[in-house]
Amino acid sequence: MKTLLGVLCAVLAAASVAAIFHTNGYILGLFVAALTIAGVALAWALLGNLGGMISLGHAAFFGVGGYASAILAKSAGWPVLLAIPSAGVVAAMASLVMLPILRLRGAYFALAVLAYAEVFRILATEASGLTGGAAGLLSIPRIPSGVFGLSDGIVAYSLVVGLVVLLAVCYDRVRRSYSGLALRAMQDSEAATSVLGVPVFRLKATMLLLSAFATGVFGAFNAHVIGFLQPDYAFSGDWSILPMVAAIFGGYRTVTGPIVGAIAIYLLDQLVFKNLVPQGHQIVLGILLCAMILFSPRGLVPIITRGRSAVSKDKDARHVAA
């Protein structure tokens, strides 16, 4: 029931933020952006932790999800709330073309996903009939407002909070399940687990599809919040990198880490650093990231929860001798 407690805490925190800031569209917008990154960070961490595959190109799924949802809602007239999950499915289907690279390890897989992201970006630029080409799509239908009499800022905010919590619960569930156990065992030795009859390839593929689906959903959500898409924006390297940095910063081996990391990094950067150092605040982000890696490689969450006993379920820290 730890999960239920966690969900209640999250909902409570989210609700208090909404209560404090509900008239301030700017701050709400910042939270929406931060939570979008948090969602992708979670999806990325899921693939990294459970699938054992670090990806440098999650923008591939984000962009596919964004375009799919935009096209469904704008050209095919689907309701936005239906288009978003459908776009997630499209993103998952797009990840099927990545099945051949699943057997690659480490840096090779990471880079291959990046290559896919670039290929998708160029295809989106060329397929101008469908995607609007380089000009992209303007005036994408927005997140519906007026639901329960709430402004569209609050609706978007609630939606993204819901999506993040849902994903976190999903992630946690999978982690604790037998599949999760198998996946973690797999990371120590794929050969051994496969000898024991664990369907290694199928499990990895499932994680890839899940991660792609989740990322696609957040990409779709973002398209309807911003109302505009271009290939350079939808498949921008930022969507691969910021979530990764956020997850690592927050602690990517935990479920709450990526969420905390994303909110911390995004809000700190936009609200504090940007006002302190207007012309170079991204440098501060770089310095923070380096400092975090050097002094607390497990991220922010372990620092916060250091009071608790640190018997972690993920004991697979690979040490470098000497």
Binding site: C9, A13, S16, V17, I20, F21, N24, G25, Y26, I27, G29, L30, A33, I122, T125, G133, A134, A135, G136, L138, S139, N222, I226, G227, F228, Q230, D232, Y233, D238, A264, L267, Q270, L271, V272, K274, N275, P278, Q279, G280, H281, Q282, I304, T305, G307
Partner: protein
């Protein structure tokens, strides 16, 4: 658990404090890319806007005044939207914005929040096709295309090769020029290239061996021009004129790549050294030089004129009512001669009278060669540096 909650509350409180801002009267919000890839352009445009505000306040002498707030959108659409949302409660209207990808979402947000948006930084076609009642712009790709087309006609060019970067504005402009050129039976060949391209020799060689054009148009940005011109200097295609668009006919390019750009033409607003024939222009140039220590470039002019139109309308709204409907109605009455030529706004918020000019690098100067009524000198042929 308690500690986590305490930490969260403390964090939230800090952020709440940081977000407080104070409200002023007759305020205008500006969002520009002051960092990131578009920084140089954004800073220049912002400088033009500031001069517009200073000159307006001086002229009004305390009767009306304009106060600017600026937020850096970091060349990022989400941050442009956030900037507009941040400033909207405290401003009456928006100006600034550079790049259709930033202006698009930002102006939609402004519209949603009931604020007018006047810009000199969004030239792509789709920007005015959205039915926004409070959106206005003083320049557009059509004006650029008309300028290039005018040059084609002036020089009697019958075959044109267009190299264009596959980015939004550059490919949009390329398509428009091609459409205009075909209307007077000019033979057009199109060659898209990826913005990462650094070696243009294969492409220029293809054009040289297959197309034999009389004029080559380069629709790209500074790094593309350097690459293309370098390749052309080595391959030496026999063209009558090389013409580029954004960012080619500038003082910066003349200084940094002097020998490379000799006799090459590009779209421009001003000659260099800039010659301001009107009082408005002279005041602008002098104030700019006094405050920033250099001559204004074309981006500064765009920022200046857009802001100028907005402030003029703000001064004239009945009862100081700067709501969207009232301000938009006032802006639609605009009918002014500006540094960009004639400005008026149609129902879509576009300025149909905008025609860009063409300047040619001649020695250390930029000479306006087209259209005839704006020319400051004669064209030098062949328009190439080899």
């Amino acid at each position: 658990m308690k500690r986590r909650l305490a930490f969260a509350v403390a964090a939230l409180a800090t952020m709440f404090w940081a977000a407080q801002s104070s409200a002023k009267e007759f305020n205008v919000g500006v969002h520009m890319p002051l960092t990131g890839g578009l920084a140089r352009v954004g800073i220049s445009m912002w400088q033009g806007i500031q001069i517009a505000a200073n000159l307006f306040n001086d002229a009004e002498g305390g009767h009306n005044s304009v106060k600017l707030s600026i937020v850096d959108d970091e060349s990022n659409p989400a941050k442009a939207v956030a900037a507009v949302e941040q400033m909207a409660p405290n401003v009456d209207a928006f100006t600034g914005g550079f790049g259709s990808n930033l202006v698009g979402p930002a102006s939609e947000t402004a519209d949603r929040l009931g604020k007018a948006y006047v810009t000199g930084g969004a030239v792509a076609d789709e920007i005015v096709a959205r039915g926004l009642k409070g959106f206005f712009r003083v320049n557009n790709n059509q004006g650029y295309a008309k300028a290039i087309d005018g040059l084609t006609t002036d020089l009697g060019v019958k075959s044109l090769s267009i190299l264009y970067s596959t980015k939004d504005a550059t490919s949009n402009l390329a398509q428009q020029v091609a459409a205009l050129a075909k209307k007077h039976s000019v033979n057009v060949t199109m060659h898209p290239f990826d913005s990462n391209t650094s070696d243009f020799k294969p492409l220029v060689n293809k054009i040289k061996l297959q197309d034999h054009p009389q004029m080559i148009m380069m629709s790209g940005y500074e790094n593309d021009y350097v690459g293309i011109l370098r390749a052309a200097q080595i391959l030496k295609p026999d063209v009558k004129m090389m013409v580029g668009v954004y960012g080619l006919a500038t003082e910066q390019m003349n200084k940094d790549f002097h020998d490379l750009v000799q006799n090459v033409a590009g779209t421009a607003v001003l000659s260099y050294p800039p010659i301001f024939k009107t009082d408005d222009g002279k005041k602008f140039a002098e104030s700019f030089k006094a405050k920033f220590g250099k001559y204004p470039d074309y981006n500064a002019v765009y920022g200046y004129v857009a802001a100028q139109m907005l402030f003029a309308a703000l001064a004239k709204v009945p009862n100081g009512d700067a709501s969207l409907a009232s301000l938009a109605a006032e802006l639609r009455k605009t009918d002014a001669e500006t540094l960009l030529g004639h400005v008026r706004f149609d129902e879509r918020g576009d300025n149909p009278d905008f025609i860009q000019r063409i300047a040619q690098h001649q020695g250390d100067q930029l000479v306006l060669i087209s259209p005839a009524n704006a020319a400051t000198g004669q064209v030098k042929l062949p328009g190439r540096s080899w």
